[in-house]
Symmetry: C2
Subunit: 326 residues, 2 copies
C-alpha cells in the first residue's frame, strides 16, 4: 500500500525510459535489482508501455559460448535496424559469476551503439527474487523501445531455467565433446528448447551431438501444425550459422500453432502471484503482526512449541479477518 | 484451510517416519516433491519431532567431486555410529541432472545400511519450490532420527546456493585446474563458505588454489572470536583429508561465536513467509476471486489495460476486507 499512491521518482523516470534514455534505464534496473521501494512505482509506470519486445531466452552449460552467440545475435538484429536489450543473468554463484562478467567485456563491441543496452543482473545476498527482477528488467527494456530482449542464463538452477522457459522463445545451446550430449538427452531438455544450437560446430563430436538430439526428437510425436525444434550448428566466434538461428527464431515467432499466448499468460500469472504474495507479506508485517511478534513466533517455531504451518494459518486467518468466523 | 483439519495420511505416516521406517520417509519426501495436498499435513505432523539433525550444505562446480566427498563424509559419520540422510539436489537442468543421477549409483555403497537414507530431489516442471521442498525433506529426515542431513547442490543457481547458505554449515568444494579458482575469488564466495575443501588435491594447481583462497581470506578481518573458514585438502576418491573435513565441521558446530541461531532463524523466517504466501494464494483463488476472474485479469494485463501491481493491490484489498475502508 505504502508505495502505490505516493510516487516521487517514477513518472519522470518512466518518461525518460520511454524516450530510451540509457541512464534512466540503467537506474530503473538498479532499483529493481536492489529491490528498492521505488521499483514498484517504476514498473507500474512503464508497464503500459510494454508488450512490444520479443523475449529470447538463451541457456546452456558453462563454456557453451552463449555470450559470443548473444553478441553475434545482437549484431545480426542490429544489421536489420532493430534494437536490442541484453540481460545476462549473473547467478548467485561463486563459480560462473566471474566468467560471465568476463564475457561481458567482449560485448563492448556494442558499447558505442545506442540501439543496444547490455546489463548483467546479479541478485546476491538475498533469498529469492531472480526471476522477478529479470522479468521487471525486461519490462523496462521493452518500455524503452527495444525490439528484442535477449536473456542469457547458465542452464543450471531452477530459477535460471524457469526464466528461459517463460521467454517468448527458448534457445538451448550445447557444445560437442563435453559429455553433455548424452546427459542432455536424458534429462528432459525437450521441455525447454524451441531451438537447439550446437555451437563450436567445428569441434569433433558435433555430428554425433546433432545426431543424438535429432534421434531424441524423432522419439517425440509432433502434430502436422506443431513446432518441431530445429537443430542448428553455429560457430559463434566466426558468426557462422548465426543468421540461421535468427531465421529459426523468426519462423518460431510467426508459427501459427505455437504456444506464444499461453506462454505469456504463464509468465503473467507467475508474476502476478509473486507480486500478490509480496504485497501480502508486507501487509502482514505492517498491519497484522504487532511489533516483535514475528520474532516471538519464530522463537516458538525454533523451540518446536509451534509449527510453521499452524502459525501461517493463524496469521492468514487474522489478516483476512476470519478469526471470529468459522 | 482445506488440508489443515482433515488428515487421513499424516498421523500414521508421521509415526512410521518417527520410527525410522525407510518406506515412510521415501513416501513423505515424494509427497513433498510432488507438492501433493497431503504434504502439508505430513510436515506439520513431523515438525515437532525435528530440531535434532545438523544440516550440512555442500556445494561446488560440476566435476568437483561433491558426490564422492558426500559418500566419504557419510562413511566417516557412520563409523562414529551416527546416522545420515543425504539429499542430492538434482537441478532443473538439462546438463547436470544426468551426472548427479549417475553419481548416485556410486553411493549404493550405503544401500544396505539402515543408518543412511539417500535421496535425489528433482523439481522439474513447475516454477519455484526447490528450496521449500528441500527444507521440508530435511524435516522428514530429521524427524526420522537422522543425526546429520547432508545436502548436495551444484553451486550455480540462486535457489541452490540459498539452500546451502541456510544450512547449519556450508562447505564449498573447489578443484584445481579448472580455472574456477580465480573466478571463485572474484565472486563473493566468502559469504557462503564456512569450510573450503580443495578436492582432487593431488592435481597440479592444488597449491596455487589453496594459496589463492588463503590470500583472499587474509584480506578479510576476522575478530578474535570469529570463525575463520579453514581451507582443507581432500582426495575424496581415496578418502584422504576427509576426517579433517569432519573435524572442521565439528569445530564449527562447537564454535561459540558462530551464527548458528541466526542462521536457523533466517531459514525459519524464509520458510514461514513462503508458507504464508502460498496459503494466501490458495485462499485468494478459493475465496476471493470468482470463477474465471483470474483469466479475465490476466487477459487485461496481457492487453495492458491493467498493470500487475494495481491488480495485485486490488486483490489484496478485497482479500483483507479493506475495500470500503480507506
Amino acid at each position: 500500500m505504502s508505495n502505490s499512491t505516493v510516487s516521487s521518482v517514477p513518472l519522470p523516470l518512466a518518461d525518460r525510459i520511454r524516450a530510451g534514455d540509457v541512464r534512466a534505464v540503467a537506474r530503473a534496473i538498479s532499483l529493481i535489482e536492489d529491490d528498492a521501494p521505488q521499483a514498484a512505482d517504476v514498473v507500474r509506470a512503464v508497464f503500459p508501455l510494454t508488450g512490444h519486445a520479443y523475449l529470447v531466452g538463451i541457456t546452456g552449460p558453462p563454456g557453451a559460448g552463449k555470450s559470443t552467440l548473444v553478441d553475434k545475435l545482437t549484431a545480426g538484429l542490429r544489421a536489420r535496424g532493430q534494437t536490442v536489450g541484453v540481460l545476462a543473468i549473473d547467478p548467485t554463484s561463486p563459480y560462473t559469476g566471474g566468467a560471465i562478467l568476463g564475457d561481458r567485456v567482449r560485448m563492448q563491441t556494442h558499447a558505442a551503439d545506442e540501439g543496444v543496452f547490455i546489463r548483467s543482473m546479479a541478485t546476491r545476498g538475498h533469498l529469492g527474487g531472480l526471476a522477478r527482477a529479470t522479468h521487471e528488467a525486461a519490462y523496462v527494456l521493452d518500455a524503452a523501445g527495444k525490439d528484442w530482449v535477449l536473456i542469457e542464463t547458465v542452464g543450471v538452477g531452477q530459477d535460471e531455467v524457469d526464466i528461459v522457459r517463460t521467454a517468448d522463445v527458448s534457445i538451448v545451446t550445447l557444445v560437442p565433446g563435453t559429455g553433455d550430449d548424452v546427459q542432455a538427452l536424458k534429462a528432459g531438455i525437450m521441455e525447454i528448447a524451441d531451438v537447439f544450437v550446437v555451437n563450436k560446430a567445428d569441434r569433433e563430436g558435433a555430428d554425433r551431438l546433432v545426431a543424438s538430439i535429432e534421434a531424441m526428437l524423432s522419439l517425440e510425436t509432433f502434430g502436422p501444425d506443431e513446432w518441431r525444434p530445429p537443430v542448428l550448428r553455429t560457430q559463434a566466434t566466426t558468426g557462422a550459422g548465426v543468421p540461421e538461428v535468427l531465421e529459426a527464431v523468426d519462423r518460431f515467432r510467426a508459427h501459427p500453432h505455437q504456444d506464444q499466448a499461453a506462454r505469456r499468460r504463464v509468465r503473467s500469472e507467475f508474476r502476478l502471484k509473486e507480486l500478490l504474495a509480496s504485497q501480502f507479506l508486507d501487509y502482514v508485517q505492517q498491519q497484522v503482526l504487532s511489533s516483535g511478534e514475528l520474532d516471538e513466533l519464530l522463537g516458538r517455531i525454533g523451540e518446536r512449541t509451534a509449527d510453521p504451518y499452524t502459525v501461517a494459518a493463524d496469521i492468514l486467518a487474522r489478516a483476512v479477518g476470519r478469526k471470529g468466523d468459522a
